[in-house]
Symmetry: C2
């Protein structure tokens, strides 16, 4: 939040003082208590001032980290060349549409048959409002955004062992849970059981608050009434004309909610990384990669599979072969190298770096993830069930069903995300199946939640990230211990080589991590060049 | 939710039985507990089967209720004519754009200077997913929809007497309140204070649930930590490269939240009528009215101010004058009349109906509401404060600041809703001011929340609904008592006249109420015609 100038200045002085005396953490806490917004690592377009001295940089990988580096380094005066394994820009910033084909590790090829305009984002699919770097590049590169619906109150929670397998509306579980919690706390407050921790003055306000927040009646009870129905929805909605009075439904009992464990899913709507307002690029996530490529596409050599990364005092030499027609290695040379190759791949490539960075490269396992896109003849989730966008969660192996966030309320075909399995045994199980079986299984499981699957399904595609040749996994899966031991070694400049990508960030698996990591890496590299 | 056929059938049998034995309310509750979706009053396109016998209908008002009646009755074989006071269709379904001018009661004219593409919806501005009738007409009439953001976690709550007048992020108040509630309940549970109401088995699950839902640490405490920061946001966001570790901020103390009364606003994000997924038509709410008019525009006589409504055994005669050039009244005749004129106006028109309907017409006061649209040179709320759509709430007279839900992340000008005052003394105070003063005051108050107002404001428009000539108020404001005494009398067919509009519904002030009321009215009218 911006404040008036004078107030801001005096606050800044105060903060500097706090920072100098008590250190960074205390300063950030002081900032928060003074009402400042949280601080993003992104401070606006990177400024690489100073002479690049005609130096050259070889960027490995044309994902968002690589293309960010290419764009900003060229602008700063460097000679830039990019080597990319795929025949397209973007890396994991990727959208599959009808007509696309994709061959995974093991040789299975899928040809996507989606209708024109429908798509699956197999990798990143949403952008939080606090991912300031991604949003700023979208703005600078003219990528149109639309809201991504994370929480749809009318989507479903499903547990195979809960409520007889009958899916529940998120709004019912969410509202009823909060209502029962409020009733319990209000009753305890009334009975004086919180007197030790709640002051007399606050006690009365707490009761009012529980009534307001928990949809309690005048006796602080959460039960069937038009009060609770105003929050959870009605058994019969209010209407127009005669016979139009609403009818309240019966809330779900607290014990049933507790034992269903469905409260676990409510986190997904409260976590900062999933809070409104989230975005998706209009038309598919790869609109971002394509927008970057409009700027730096001329620097990219596609189909280039890196086989060896060498450096000495004079520069960097990178050997590569044609990924589609392997032959004699070629060599690209530059003064410096920004390497954004995922660690899962890089750990298999011979690279001249010191032992600490090499150990770091080898230390990070990659997360497993599977996404399945399914095309249906009609958007039955909207037409039959009033589910517009958002995500249904289930304990079935498919874990999630996510409904499209564009083309709302239209007739015709639709593609939904029929499975999003992140980590765990199910992800590995799905990865081990042929793609057609993944699709078949997603349809079979999903039809237990949406019986319409049976008659409406048309075709699908399934991406298992451990079988994606250019990453062999979804994202760097740091443990706390590995991060402590290796993270700084991974990010240090090693001679003439610096690494970047989501794996070199504290925001793993998010595009913001890739871009911020790249900006940090090239800023340090540029400092070194300028100072040399 | 749809279930497989056999299961559905047997459930239907059961429900019929419950309905027959125990009545409607019990049936609806049984439906809910059996996992059915809530029942909307809208069952899909209205079916007016049977012979209209060449009968004619005069529809008064070309708002959504009137145009729904016109569209469906013509389709059913009636001769339809519509009289409309304004020179445009839609009524309160209205969008103001640059170039529009509007004269309010009292004679003040405003000429809107918004940049092309920017607009204010002075009336309805959002559509809940459960407003099935509005959504179905949008679908049938090809009105494109986009999400309306009701809850933006990064928008603000502001209290003049709270936190020194410093606005708070919604996410902080929302997360911290829930966290503290969870801590209080967890502690009471641990100390055995809920043993009377929570079983031993549930107690352990409740503790787990409070930890998960309330972002508590392993000691069930809600305090500064990366656990709470994962929900409320960080003092320093996680970043990329070196020095990128996140820093947690200090939660706001429970007592401070309680005394700030900011918990009152959290209702606005939980009520069923404001739950995700909400919509707005792309380009302005009047896209709906315009879409209706593409179907029935040929039936509408604009600038027709109704002065008298007469009926006898033979038909209905409605006198009207040219609203822009009053002169000798003309008379329109038909067999039947669907009158959608707001009660605030209708109560001032001589109408031949029985005493019960006349008493009902006179019994409903109209709600007061003021909306102010403000154009700024740039979308500073996005650029400076990362607020994309959604609503800031304040106890200042402007009550709300709502940010536009389209054109996200774009450069250039933007229009926000600088005040939305619904009922209360402030609404009347703003209504009493000249429009230019309303705008000036909205800017002055808003600048206490967004200091950028001062340098970025360009122009504005202000609509005070009690001064809008075609409604003299925002919407029917039923009390429970008035509804009990008069509602059914208002909705009954009186001879050859039936009323429709949001005022004849249980969803006042919403477009859904207008359409459902109209569908109910014409269904009953048609039944009468067919049976006659």
């Amino acid at each position: 939040m911006q404040s008036d100038r004078q107030e801001t200045l005096s606050r800044r002085d105060l903060l500097s003082l706090v920072g100098a005396v008590a250190g960074g953490a205390a300063m950030y806490q002081a900032m928060t208590s003074l009402g400042f917004a949280s601080e993003s690592g992104y401070k606006g377009p990177v400024k690489l001032d100073g002479d690049a001295k005609g130096a050259s940089v070889l960027v490995l990988g044309a994902g968002l980290a690589g293309m960010t580096a290419a764009l900003e380094l060229r602008k700063a005066g460097y000679k830039v060349q990019v080597l990319e394994f795929n025949r397209r820009p973007g890396g994991r910033n990727w959208t599959i549409r009808g007509g696309d084909s994709f061959t995974e590790l093991g040789g299975q090829t899928q040809n996507c048959e989606f209708e024109q305009g429908l798509y699956l984002n197999p990798g990143p699919w949403r952008i939080p409002y606090h991912h300031r770097a991604v949003l700023d590049y979208c703005k600078r590169l003219n990528v149109a955004l639309e809201p991504f619906v994370q929480l749809n109150h009318n989507a479903l929670l499903h547990g195979t062992g809960a409520f007889g397998g009958q899916p529940q509306r998120i709004r019912d579980i969410k509202t009823d849970f909060q209502g029962h919690v409020s009733e319990l706390l209000a009753k305890a407050t009334q009975q004086g059981k919180l007197d030790e921790v709640v002051s007399v003055e606050d006690k009365e306000i707490l009761l009012q608050a529980m009534k307001s927040w928990g949809a309690l009646d005048k006796n602080y009870a959460y039960k069937a009434s038009l009060i609770s129905a105003d929050f959870r929805g009605y058994a019969k909605d209010p209407g127009g004309g005669l016979g139009a009075a609403p009818v309240a439904g019966e809330p779900i009992a607290m014990s049933d909610i507790l034992r269903s464990r469905m409260w676990r899913y409510l986190q997904n709507f409260a976590l900062h990384e999933f809070q409104t307002t989230m975005f998706q690029p209009v038309g598919g996530m790869d609109m971002i990669g394509k927008a970057f490529a409009r700027q730096v596409g001329d620097l990219i050599r596609y189909d280039a599979k890196v086989t060896r990364i060498q450096q000495d005092g004079g520069g960097v030499s990178v050997s590569f072969i044609d990924a589609k027609a392997p032959g004699t290695p070629q060599v690209a040379k530059a003064d410096w190298c920004v390497c954004t190759i995922p660690l899962s791949i890089l750990s298999q490539i011979q690279i001249d770096v010191g032992a600490p960075m090499k150990a770091a490269i080898d230390a990070v396992p990659y997360a497993s993830a599977v996404k399945v896109g399914l095309q249906f003849k009609r958007r039955f989730w909207e037409e039959d069930e009033a589910i517009y966008g958002g995500i249904t969660y289930t304990d079935l192996p498919i874990r999630q069903i996510a409904y499209p966030n564009s083309g709302f309320n239209r007739s015709g075909r639709g593609v939904l995300l029929g499975a999003y399995i992140f980590e765990g045994a199910n992800a590995f199980e799905f990865t081990s199946m042929p793609p057609a079986d993944r699709v078949k299984r997603a349809v079979a499981f999903g039809s237990r939640i949406h019986p319409q699957y049976g008659s409406e399904f048309e075709n699908g595609v399934a991406v298992a990230w451990h079988r994606v040749p250019f990453t062999l996994g979804c994202a760097g899966n740091w443990t706390e211990k590995a991060r402590e031991e290796h993270y700084d070694d991974l990010c240090q400049i090693d001679g003439r080589i610096v690494l970047a990508g989501e794996h070199a960030s504290y925001i793993p698996a998010w595009q913001e991590g890739a871009i911020l990591s790249s900006l940090d890496a090239i800023t340090r590299l540029h400092d070194r060049v300028v100072r040399t």
